[in-house]
Symmetry: D2
Subunit: 252 residues, 4 copies
């Protein structure tokens, strides 16, 4: 080959060897290239807006994607003019019509600016993955509680790595990567659910292996299930928590 | 107790049982509450800005946190007035003075609006975790290449789940959760590095188990190491890739 | 040091390096020696006879270690003059008074020399670890059946690696290494039971991960349990299977 | 069906349900039966004699299956009239001509009745699986040493669960279930070797995960390899250890 090509090839090899070390297996770079399948093109959203392939679960205009958990009727929560919804006390939990397995989930929530009560009774709600596994929503600003039940906890299972809330009355975001549990044909748990949570961009749950459905009393135990709806909690204590901009992307 | 308390307790119990199912172990809710250690309070940043506990590696004003990889001298890349840096061709890779293990990393990058060349030669750079494990940076807009070497790939190991770039000339973000590999006392790999990447908020690498240092030729093989610097690549082909707003949070 | 010692040390080092390769960590051999705790001294038995630390469950003289499974009364099986026992049809399963977790188990069994019936009805019995997980006992000499139910199978879960029976009427041995399943505090299976079986000295089950309690119908599902008795089966079809020389050593 | 059949079917079902519990999945017993592939028929040996499918590595008559490890020439150890071999001091290790992966191994060994020296110098030899991973052979009768180097240890890695030797001058047996390590295409260890050892019928190594090649000095580290010969050690200190009745069965 011409000198120039030789020098180029040599410099690439040297770069590779200085950065990377010895070569195992194939000795040609082409041997480790793959060309298909080609991943899908997704147009990202800005600042939490849904990407082009997201399933928008709440866009601020209606409750079309939701039903009441207790009786499957239409949702009685407040639909606000600013494109958010607010828990209506004692109307019960709500859940999506659609069922999901593993998902990427974006959801935004806000606790009231005017605080009421304290501990677990200050703006308590929750995001229940598959209706069973709760990421706690709570106003912990100047408000202590048990740490495995504070904001961003996997309720009574995993204390968050940090308390990263914005002030009461401002909007928080949860960006969640959730993998559904896997069960044997006979119903044994063979692979627990895992969850990663960014709270306002701060990592607070780091691929935590969920121990089972969230329990108020006692230890968690898995029961075999397939796809299930996403659920939002009415804690029945006038929490007045609001939600907006909810979207998911289904993962394998 | 007064009737009201009794009704409240009953309704809580009913809510718990209807949502959660049977009780294993303790029969009192207090038995499963924990109160310490209390997680640290972190003030989040807005739209990718660093949280209060982040180590800011590049704030747009200087290269104080960086050195040249090849000779440990000061960095020769371009420092731009808009608070970004740009690769200066053939001046070599740069790396942080500080060494890291497991981290949450935020980094923003931009390929030039005016495109040059094609395939792997169009705006090629890379974010090397611990200087060894590369998340590919490349302008793939209307520009194909091998998919395990496209933008957002773990180079030659993991095809991204999606191609989520913004148009050439606009700013992309990578939000990365990286866990360093663990080695036995004798140097065996016992726990591979793992990586999760959000590209402009879209999940493109989902807790991928890295197979070893990124290799241009051949298969990857781990070699035992401790903490190491973060490295950014000069691909030596006039890539003109720019970076800004780089921060990390150390994980255990 | 004197020349002789020097040569000795050198030759040991050379031997080590030629056999073993490079040195990681400590450079003195003493650094990798440990002196306690000292393992117990056990006097082995000959040809399947119990070692000095074994719990002898059946020595041919009485049923003192056994009860009827159905009603906890004394055992109605046959006690033979040659130091063996034989299933008495339709008197039910029997089990040890003592409960066990993980064990090494030696047990010998014999199917009748005069065969009766065929398939699953020819000398069918079973060794149930913890009363739940069955190693099949069956006369498969010139007698076919479903292979996951043949002699040495983990019943309906694992086909044996070989059919290693002696002729009908002669004594077989099972040497079993069994590890009990482990459960979470809430009752999830976190580590399945494992079993290794040597049938007449031939490996037929190789650290098989048991899927759950043996089921005649349907798929297995674990239910949390602690130590439980060893059980022997009366298959209720005049199996006339005999047992002798049963001992265990507790593991963990 | 006739009444008798009905009663039989019912009683089988009742037995199944009382023993086994609830039914998951199929409701017919036939649905969980499998009929192929049919495992091979193996005629077992008596008291450690080789089964019909074993590869006999030493039958007491010649060294046809063995070579000297250092120079691949014929073996210089002693061939005894009683069908055993004895280490000839300073002639070097010997190994099989054939290479093996995972195996079941039976081997018998004897230390001299007349003891010499002490500690690691009393009848020291070793069985090296794949020529790399040593099960220690040593006369520990009234002879202490570091416990991770005593008889039955995985040398400097795993203390045996018991010291189960017969008196000096009598024959010991090792029955070993060994699984070869697995490596990635790039040479990473992905599944360590495992070993189970029965010493004179007593479990002394219980599915131990081997940490790497046995090292006299320093910590073990795996290097990728395929099938390799079985090796027996000349410890070069007049150990006079004898071996006999060596056979293997290849596992997947």
């Amino acid at each position: 080959m011409p000198l120039k090509s030789y020098v180029l090839a040599l410099s690439i090899l040297l770069m590779a060897s200085s950065v990377f070390g010895q070569v195992n297996g194939p000795t040609q770079p082409e041997a480790t290239e793959t060309y298909e399948p080609v991943p899908p093109r997704v147009t990202p959203g800005l600042d939490g807006a849904p990407p082009s392939d997201a399933i928008v679960l709440f866009n601020g205009k209606d409750f079309d994607q939701w039903i009441s958990t207790s009786d499957s009727t239409s949702v009685n929560w407040h639909l606000n003019k600013d494109g958010s919804m607010t828990v209506k006390d004692k109307t019960g939990n709500i859940q999506t019509k659609q069922s999901f397995g593993s998902i990427q989930l974006h959801i935004e929530w806000r606790s009231p600016k005017e605080v009421q009560m304290s501990g677990q009774n200050r703006a308590n709600s929750g995001v229940f993955l598959q209706g069973l596994y709760e990421v706690q929503v709570l106003d912990n600003n100047d408000n202590g509680t048990y740490v495995n039940g504070q904001v961003g906890s996997i309720y009574k299972q995993s204390v968050p790595l940090a308390m990263a809330s914005v002030p009461s009355g401002e909007w928080n975001s949860y960006d969640i990567i959730y993998h559904a549990p896997k069960f044997s044909r006979g119903g044994n748990i063979v692979s627990p659910a895992t969850i990663t949570v960014l709270h306002n961009g701060v990592l607070i749950q780091d691929h935590f292996e969920i121990e089972g459905p969230s329990e108020y009393i006692g230890w968690p135990q898995y029961k075999s299930h397939g796809k299930r709806p996403l659920m939002l909690q009415d804690h029945r204590d006038n929490s007045r928590v609001s939600y907006r901009n909810i979207w998911v992307r289904e993962l394998d």
